[in-house]
Symmetry: C2
Subunit: 437 residues, 2 copies
């Protein structure tokens, strides 16, 4: 009567399978100011040189550098103050031209007058009288200014296809006058909890029922990963209900997540539902691709594709469900939403045991010994506490049954004991992958 896993898929292979998915969300054009964290669909070239005029980088006096050569505290140069580009009135006064022997006052960011090739900093000058400037330090050609295109040349990329936009990317885009940008739509993710024992949080559970943890935890995870969560009605644990739910999810979203029901019966129904629907949809529907992954917790995970829509069946235990979500599903939301290589670890040291939706790692000293899980990568939530100043923090593993959500709420991050490792010993240094929020 027991259905066994055909073959556990190693995490690294699972990542390859996820990465090979080729569909992306469509695009939409939005105001640049609303594009934080969004992903440009294309490389965006600057339409202008930035700056497009020569700007001073300091407060001081625009001069011809040759007029200051050799100037020093003991032998200053003297120039005639022939103009002023005051604060807040740069554009009107910037058409001044200077000749040899003249200087014009400029402020930081201000336009240089024609003829000037450098700026003497205020610190190295004194006004002897209203029109006589003493310069106590020479400047060389192009000193203390930026020339047109020095920041960005017309055609230089202001945004890269596949890279989420950061605050200064937004500033750079507005700086070159790009006020709208075409980005990938956020992936819509339908989330179902399965199992008759699961009730909504607002309901009072009857004997043997529990309030839903996974649908809401996963929903928040989808938001954090840049997707739009669609929380769907709970699904009964039978083939027809599951097929109906999947069909609805596939029609209305870019990804479907079934969560709950990690019982053997439920897994069988989920597998059957995916495979039966995949027969209807033909080529774009390879059906179940992964059934069981070699990690702990989270072994009973299902992944399939129906009608170009990825489907995840997550374990019912909250810890397994949310760890699998963070490690595999969150980066997949990135992939579908156009992010370039969301699976690449930035430390150049990715060994498939990182919690790789995180780019945040800290070294810590583990305070008790833990045995590995033979044949499986073992992810363990840990709580970090600071040691004395300058020491690395202590990681306390939070062990317990994977049905216990409190293990995650008390934790700061995850460590991983890779399948080939026997365990970690108390006092050993471990690498902790931090949660994103």
């Amino acid at each position: 009567m027991r259905k066994s896993f055909l073959k556990l898929t190693p995490p690294a292979e699972f990542f390859k399978i996820l990465n090979s998915f080729g569909e992306r969300t469509g695009s939409e054009t939005i105001p640049t100011i609303d594009a934080l964290g969004r992903v440009s669909v294309a490389n965006v070239p600057s339409p202008i040189d930035l700056p497009d005029f020569t700007r001073s980088t300091v407060d001081g006096f625009a001069v011809m550098s040759k007029d200051t050569h050799g100037a020093s505290g003991s032998i200053p140069s003297y120039l005639e103050l022939s103009g002023d580009i005051p604060v807040g009135a740069i554009s009107e006064n910037a058409k001044i031209t200077i000749s040899s022997g003249e200087a014009v006052r400029v402020v930081t960011g201000g336009m240089l007058p024609d003829g000037a090739d450098s700026v003497v900093m205020l610190e190295y000058t004194d006004l002897i009288d209203e029109t006589t400037l003493e310069v106590r330090r020479g400047v060389s050609n192009l000193e203390n200014l930026v020339v047109p295109g020095e920041d960005m040349k017309k055609g230089d990329l202001v945004a890269k296809c596949g890279a989420p936009l950061r605050p200064f990317d937004i500033g750079a885009l507005t700086g070159v006058g790009i006020t709208e940008i075409e980005v990938f739509k956020k992936p819509v993710v339908s989330i179902f909890s399965t199992g008759g024992e699961v009730v909504e949080p607002t309901e009072t559970p009857n004997n043997g029922q529990v309030r839903d943890v996974n649908k809401y935890g996963v929903s928040a995870g989808v938001l954090e990963a840049g997707g739009i969560p669609n929380r769907m009605d709970n699904v009964e644990d039978d083939l027809d209900s599951l097929k109906g739910a999947l069909k609805l999810g596939i029609e209305t979203s870019d990804m479907v997540i079934l969560s709950g029901g990690s019982s053997v019966g439920n897994m069988d129904f989920t597998l059957a539902a995916i495979n039966e629907l995949s027969e209807i949809h033909g080529q774009a529907s390879p059906g179940v691709l992964v059934h069981g992954i070699s990690i702990k917790p989270g072994k009973p995970t299902i992944y399939g594709i129906v009608n170009n829509t990825p489907i995840f069946g997550l374990p019912g235990h909250p810890v397994g469900a949310l760890i699998v979500f963070l490690i595999f599903v969150a980066p997949m939301i990135g992939i579908i939403g156009g992010v370039n290589n969301p699976l690449n670890a930035i430390d150049g040291n990715f060994d498939d045991t990182d919690y790789i939706n995180s780019t945040s790692f800290v070294q810590a000293k583990i305070d008790r010994s833990i045995s590995g899980a033979p044949g499986r990568d073992y992810y363990i939530p840990v709580k970090l506490s600071p040691q004395g100043d300058g020491d690395i923090p202590i990681a306390t593993p939070l062990l317990g049954k994977s049905g216990m959500i409190s293990i995650l709420t008390m934790s700061t991050g995850l460590i991983c004991i890779p399948s080939m490792k026997e365990g970690v010993s108390a006092g050993e240094n471990v690498k902790v992958s931090l949660f994103k929020t």
Copy 2:
């Protein structure tokens, strides 16, 4: 004519000054499902035991453990199958009671029948006929189940005051039936660009004018830090305009940021505006507290408080403005919004040279030598590129004038050469603080 900095404030002292600010935003009650990243105003205890009934953690058969003692493959125990708690129909059937010698089928997460004290996993059983169960492995008392309150006891904290809520915190809250939560309001931050040369991104700049970079970059940074950005009309560089802007900002928001105009004149006006307004507002208005910090870039930074509202005057150069924003202003938005210790580095190794709004650090090898900035902590944007597998990445410093926004858009993170250090040498390992997005 030159106004010098009275005294540069070291970053560590600046953090202490920021941390000493005592005002917090008010609170609002929102649906738990919308509370990702929000900060609870109070410790929230669980109103129930979780679970509130004894649940199986596996698929199998609920038994009295004593009936299975000594059972093995060669000498199995035989029990009478007296009931079934099928998938999806747990509540109705959970009132079964078993007696010695009996077993009841249960699924993962299912309620145990009265009398049972353990669950035999499916793997170690076989049904010999419709009512006879062969058990090939003994179980001990409480094996393969969770007892009421084992995950969380009534009164255990589901959310902590001051800790931003993560996906599994949301799941835990819904799991104990907390569907609304009182959180700190997001701090409203008014952002002004100053200087007559700055025009809106939609405008075509005249000679000597530039489109606004800082207001939009800072605005996106405020969003990322959990605040609500209020982009205000640009302000002319004179005392009355600045006072008017500050007054409006103080009346309508929890924090005010002035950006641009790092010219000496502008700084003087900003200082004067803050101090003059502080005279009107009395005790809650200490006025200017910091004028110049000993970092590079970002030295000409101003911080003050008027009418219990923190005011930052950021440098005009985009690189300085955005680095100062990330290091000092973003954590301050956290402080005002109720986050506990947003300034504490999680690696236990905080030495005031971390880019501390980030908890993400990677080790990298720098590919060229750089001299430090005497007396100042020197922050340098770097671009990371992977080396060969297993090696730490290469950090390439992006040097250039701090007016150049492209230095930030091309970078992956920041390194810091502390004020007491002469520099870093090519090939040296450096700690890179990664940007959040």
